[in-house]
């Protein structure tokens, strides 16, 4: 401050400085409060998953000790053995994997075909057919519960894996996602040029469109695999005998009002969750944007 400034100006400057300093202090406090809130929230989000893995390594009596176990124990092998004695766990794991892979493969094929048709062709009935796609997207999931059971019953597909991977393979969500991607990143000129060169229509789909769709196929494949792996309602309705149970059904069948083997149940839940966590860690950004961009369902 220079000495020849009038005192009241000087005062107002220092006043403003002090104000600025407290404001900055308040801002820093607010920032730390925000950090603390976010951290506590993340802990709450993580805790149930963490305890699922911790409990998977403890016996039933240890799980319900006071205080409960906070770190990993030594009972994992016993839990998994007990699990495979109580239910055909590895078989269920196999079915879940088989159904999820079949469902993913078929969904990618059918949805990319339909998405290409909707995105790059003009044809009679297009509006109507696309309206049907959007309509099924709005249909609540419980509407399908009884009809799908009746259809599978009529076809004799009860206890058949195809009852789980075939009906939903041309999913409205997938077709919609593919159509959006085709419209934005499959150039019409490229298709026209291929046609001029004498390339057949199916070859255009297979050799030009499909490679261009690769990023969208990755996203849709991840989403489909996870949805199939986690699906509970459809197998609950269709898979009636225990040797055909998928993972969620097998886990649920271990639940009992009187005698639940918690250690085994937690080990099974943890094993069912591991593939999802691996997929999520490897592709979280792609998954999150895919799931929220087309988040109509």
């Amino acid at each position: 401050m220079s000495a020849n400034m009038s005192p009241d100006i000087q005062m107002s400057i220092t006043g403003r400085q002090r104000e600025g300093r407290t404001a900055r202090g308040e801002a820093r406090m607010a920032l730390w409060a925000a950090y603390a809130l976010i951290a506590v929230g993340s802990l709450v989000m993580l805790a149930p998953l963490y305890f699922m893995f911790v409990f998977a390594t403890h016996s039933r009596t240890e799980i319900f000790d006071v205080p409960p176990p906070l770190f990993f124990g030594h009972n994992l092998v016993e839990n998994v053995t007990l699990l495979s004695e109580r239910v055909p766990f590895w078989r269920s794991l196999g079915w879940s994997l088989y159904i999820a892979l079949a469902s993913t493969g078929l969904t990618l094929l059918f949805c990319s075909m339909a998405g290409y048709a909707f995105g790059r062709f003009e044809f009679k009935g297009k509006q109507l057919l696309f309206g049907l796609v959007m309509g099924t997207m709005l249909l609540p999931s419980f509407m399908n519960m009884i009809p799908s059971f009746l259809a599978m019953d009529a076809l004799g597909w009860i206890d058949q894996p195809r009852a789980l991977y075939l009906p939903g393979a041309a999913s409205a969500f997938g077709i919609f996602l593919m159509r959006q991607f085709v419209s934005s990143s499959v150039p019409t000129e490229l298709i026209d040029a291929a046609r001029m060169d004498g390339c057949g229509e199916l070859a255009i789909y297979y050799r030009i469109v499909l490679p261009l769709l690769r990023p969208a196929l990755g996203t849709l494949g991840l989403i489909t695999f996870i949805a199939s792996w986690n699906n509970f309602i459809a197998p609950l309705v269709v898979m009636r005998s225990p040797e055909m149970y998928t993972l969620p059904l097998a886990l649920r069948s271990l639940q009992s009002p009187v005698d639940t083997q918690w250690g085994a149940l937690m080990a099974g839940s943890a094993i069912a969750t591991i593939p999802l966590l691996i997929l999520f860690v490897l592709s979280s950004r792609q998954l999150i944007s895919g799931l929220t961009a087309g988040a109509v369902k």
């Binding site: 989000m45 409960p68 049907l132 099924t136 399908n144 799931l291």
Partner: protein
């Protein structure tokens, strides 16, 4: 595969006019076989009485009696009430927490943002059944971590007067099963909403805030006058998703009540009751009628949400 494709297309050419129909044929077949036809059959079934084990011949036309039965059924109304309660108690807090939390993360965390958002989002992709089973253990009366945490917190001076002194029998008590279910659903979906709101926050132009600061607006005022109005379209989208999702709740209540709706049916949602009507009580006609009644409710509420936000959005 490629060779077959090329040799095929060399010998026989698909006329371009047919191409879209060929490409759409899997969708068309699956849609009619597994979508439309069964749906129409369930509409037809809702006017009949039928047990599937007795074969198609045993179907009898009963007029509207499946619908009147459902509308007079005490459990139907109870399950509907439970569903609304759960949709509100799990849906509203999701947004009340997700909006400020998304703002905090947006403002305070730059470098590790993907990690933090990923942590919150993770419950959304994990197995619902595994999670519901896990929470059953956490909610356990005498040894569950949730009750033990409450017990510890109750030792503290101020919280002690608010928190219950006795362990809560979360999943077996008809008063607490609904809050327990709502907690699980909140935990599972709050991260999804955070991601939605964060995506929207990124689209708000920074000079709007700059201008507000020049005019001397504080942080709260900026939040109130800039952030919230800008988030309104995504709020409509997110709340609609929560309403639609909330009215379809099935897996969490099903697992937490061991598949029967809980004591006094306090945890039985409409979708769980629908399942039990068909598969436990073997009344497919009444279950079909109920599913169409529920469909009408969901459609009406979706339309209502749309109207409410539309009125708020229109500048008057």
């Amino acid at each position: 595969m490629t060779n077959i494709m090329t040799s095929l297309s060399a010998k026989w050419r698909l006329p371009p006019a047919w191409t879209p129909y060929v490409l759409l044929s899997p969708f068309i077949v699956l849609f009619f076989a597994f979508g439309l036809f069964p749906l129409l059959f369930s509409l037809y079934l809702s006017f009949h009485s039928w047990e599937p084990s007795a074969g198609l011949g045993s179907m009898q036309y009963v007029g509207l009696s499946n619908f009147t039965f459902s509308l007079q059924d005490e459990w139907f109304w109870k399950s509907l009430k439970n569903t609304f309660w759960l949709a509100a108690a799990s849906g509203i807090p999701q947004h009340l927490v997700a909006i400020p939390l998304a703002c905090f993360i947006h403002a305070a965390i730059k470098r590790s943002r993907n990690l933090v958002v990923g942590l919150y989002f993770m419950p959304y992709i994990t197995s619902t059944v595994a999670i519901a089973i896990m929470f059953t253990a956490l909610f356990s009366t005498n040894f569950g971590i949730i009750n033990l945490t409450i017990k510890e917190l109750a030792q503290l001076p101020i919280l002690g007067s608010i928190l219950p002194q006795h362990p809560i029998d979360w999943t077996n008590n008809s008063d607490t099963i609904k809050p327990a279910i709502a907690i699980v659903i909140f935990w599972r979906y709050v991260g999804f909403n955070i991601v939605l709101y964060m995506a929207a926050l990124q689209t708000i132009p920074a000079d709007l805030y700059e201008a507000a600061r020049m005019d001397g607006a504080g942080r709260l005022q900026q939040f109130w006058h800039i952030t919230l109005p800008s988030l309104r379209p995504i709020m409509y989208f997110g709340v609609t998703l929560s309403v639609i999702g909330g009215l379809q709740l099935f897996e969490e209540p099903f697992i937490l009540t061991m598949g029967n709706g809980g004591s006094d049916q306090a945890g039985m949602t409409a979708a769980v009751y629908l399942y039990r009507m068909a598969f436990d009580f073997n009344d497919f006609g009444a279950a079909s009628a109920m599913s169409w009644l529920l469909f009408a409710v969901v459609a009406a509420l979706t339309w209502l949400t749309h109207r409410v936000f539309h009125m708020r959005n229109s500048p008057t």
